[in-house]
Assembly symmetry: C2
Homo-oligomer: 415 residues x 2
DNA sequence: GATGATTGTTGTGCCCGGCAACATATCCCT
DNA sequence: AGGGATATGTTGCCGGGCACAACAATCATC
């Protein structure tokens, strides 16, 4: 139950829509914006002027004119001067990026990750270093307007398996908490640091700038040490209770399967995770993405044991995909992280399983794709998440929460 | 990418929010509305005046005053004069209701359903009769402002199993199509007839007026001849591609299970459906809800074979619930239709399975509940769906679609 | 260089909701 | 019974948002 925006909120919303448009689609002429957003020329002019004054966009006279008539000013996001910092803690390395408005990666650095049993501070320290370096290299006057963190579950020392998110919330994940604290103290301004799971952010990135552009219903599957899933439903990230998405990796696909670190058994993760592939191929555990790549490589070269392992794991991959397709009826399933290569190596099994277990109407229109952004998807998703605050309210650095009542009011503006 | 509402849309939206508020929460004083919606007294006054003029609400001086100060006028939905027709095609019977604004069931009738192999027209005919009777009994001047239909998959003649939704869309379901045509011709006005799946509508009803009020993330499971699921995510019904929800009933829970009518095997539906329970209990197939009740009854009385069957089926029920909980992280799971009794009879198995296969953080906060609206949930959901059009735009009978651009405009009103 | 086409700019007006002052209705206390 | 306190409806006015139209600016074409 809530009413709509006040007139001031309309203004803010429209500013946000305009800024988001140039952020996502790149530089756009005012004439196109007028057509795309359905606002009057005069309104578009007022909005862009406001954004330009705020230093968020520039307006330029276009080079190539071509058509008759007065050339329309091109609105371009201030990619160099307005940026966010994005962080991702991977299994074997940590990455950080400075990303400009418009999605331009201005700087990107990575460092090896301290081993699994290292205290959180030790994992976080190099990231803070990277952040400082990037911040210091930013041009004078550039504004840091947000920070995003892709949270990866901790890794169990013993066997490299992923610890399930027993803590329940991304915000209370110890690693990301330590990172947040360090960043807040050393690099960040006062604004909040946005956190979300790796797979959720990769899904967001693929939805915004990757293969899933324009797809309202997407399931993104991320292979890592474990299996994560990010779901976009009706164009929005699907978050369960408390804003923490589900865990498709712990969907039980094989009731007779091996025990999982979560206490259950036969979880999807135990059947298609790194551990499962390596074990099936008779290889030692560990090695991360390289270990998986080695098995896939061996299979491609004709190694029978590896081929059998890939087929088996691919079969379970397809099985889980079929289940998710039946449950969600998505337009696209995207394979990212280590699942990208695994899918490519076992596409036949996956399709076959989907045909066997997926509902006909659903499997016929669902498209299976691999990540377009590759390993940087979570990082780029973290950047997109960090931009959200600005895009929701370009002129006000305060966090905008939706009015709980839902009514639209006029002049109920920020004091 | 779209901007927000025009000023006129603000007005419409606020009218809708106000009307929805009294529709869902019942008669409310203007003072409370002022507080709840966050609008000014004068604005609330103007809005209620407009709705009263349109014949959608009445304003009354309250009886019991109690507090000091001028008593606030009570805004009451015009339950008797503004109504929708709702239809539900069940497995063994068809039901129809006339539901007034505010959710008041003004009239409710049912008729036996023609057997499974009957042509669609034959199934639909009694419903149209009921609709005519109800319409004719409505008071003079009462306005029929919408029609909703709960679509149930067709039933296979041979063994009573549900035909999967191979057609892909509710709108193209043959039965509901026939019903829609008949209603449109004989009873309905010009406005569109809203259709959605039984489980989706029951979920909507439970979310609006049942056990799941206030729960933003709900999974509703409906037992029938098959198993359907309706999912509310972030307060909105989850619809997959093309507006057709997923089919949790065809999630494969038992890769080694029996073949399902959908072509797959070991679908949840085959493990916990009517067919499965009756077979496990060594009873003849058929009988619908009564057959299930008989088994549950026998189990309650100590019949060992029935108890074993209930335990087994309850185990699979819990298994599927655990999977869905892991995938969605909902706040509540609601059991409706025949699953209501089944869950009550096997709650121990369900909880035990959930504890074994559900992630700790999720299973700890998820609440398992039975339907509060009982067998009428789909019917009431259909009514709610039918009201949507009015609530989205109380003064205009045109269908309001969201502007594709997303910008907010002023005076871009309906022509 | 004139014309047509397209777009930016400016001033005006409509509409919406907030706001404040006033009117109204009830309760409570003496 | 009457007056003050309290709460709410009502009315007139105002600010802000966007549409609209007229005008100015710029470009292609002939």
């Amino acid at each position: 139950m809530r009413a709509g925006p006040s007139q001031e909120e309309i203004r803010r919303h429209n500013l946000g829509v305009l800024l988001r448009s140039v952020h996502v689609h790149g530089a756009t002429s005012r004439a196109e914006l007028t057509a795309n957003l359905g606002l009057n020329r005069s309104t578009i002019g007022a909005l862009t002027a406001e954004l330009a004054t705020a230093g968020l966009v520039t307006e330029e006279i276009p080079r190539d004119r071509g058509r008759a008539g007065r050339p329309s000013l091109v609105v371009r996001p201030e990619s160099e001067m307005v940026y966010v910092l994005a962080f991702a803690i991977g299994v074997d390395r940590v990455t950080a990026a400075r990303v400009g408005l418009g999605g331009l990666v201005l700087d990107r650095r990575e460092a090896p990750r301290a081993p699994g049993q290292a205290p959180a501070e030790e994992v976080v320290a190099p990231l803070v270093d990277l952040a400082r370096q990037m911040r210091d290299l930013a041009p004078a006057g550039a504004r840091h307007i947000g920070t995003g963190v892709a949270v990866t579950p901790m890794i169990r020392e013993r066997d490299g398996q992923v610890r399930p998110r027993a803590y329940g919330s991304w915000a209370s994940d110890p690693l990301s908490e330590a990172l947040t604290e360090a960043i807040r103290a050393d690099v960040n301004g006062d604004f909040p640091i946005a956190r979300l799971g790796t797979a959720d952010l990769a899904a967001l990135a693929e939805h915004t700038r990757g293969v899933a552009i324009g797809c309202a219903n997407v399931i993104y599957l991320h292979g890592d040490a474990g299996i994560g899933g990010g779901i976009i439903a009706a164009g929005r990230p699907l978050t369960g209770h408390g804003g923490n998405g589900g865990e498709v990796g712990h969907m039980v696909v094989n009731p007779a399967g091996k025990p999982c670190c979560c206490g259950s058994r036969g979880c999807w993760e135990t059947e298609i995770g790194e551990h499962a592939l390596l074990t099936a191929a008779g290889r030692p555990i560990g090695g991360g993405a390289a270990g998986i790549a080695a098995v896939l490589d061996a299979a491609a070269r004709g190694d029978a044991e590896a081929q059998t392992a890939v087929r088996k794991v691919g079969d379970w991959l397809g099985f889980g995909v079929a289940n998710l397709v039946n449950i969600f009826n998505p337009e696209m399933v995207v394979f990212g992280g280590t699942l990208r290569e695994l899918y490519l190596a076992s596409a036949a099994q996956v399709r076959s399983r989907l045909n066997r277990n997926g509902l006909q109407a659903y499997r016929e229109h669902v498209r299976l794709r691999t990540s377009a952004l590759g390993d940087d998807a979570p990082l780029l998703g973290a950047a997109e998440l960090a931009f959200e605050r600005l895009l929701a309210d370009p002129l006000n650095d305060q966090v905008t929460e939706l009015d709980s009542t839902g009514t639209m009011t006029a002049q109920s503006g920020v004091t």
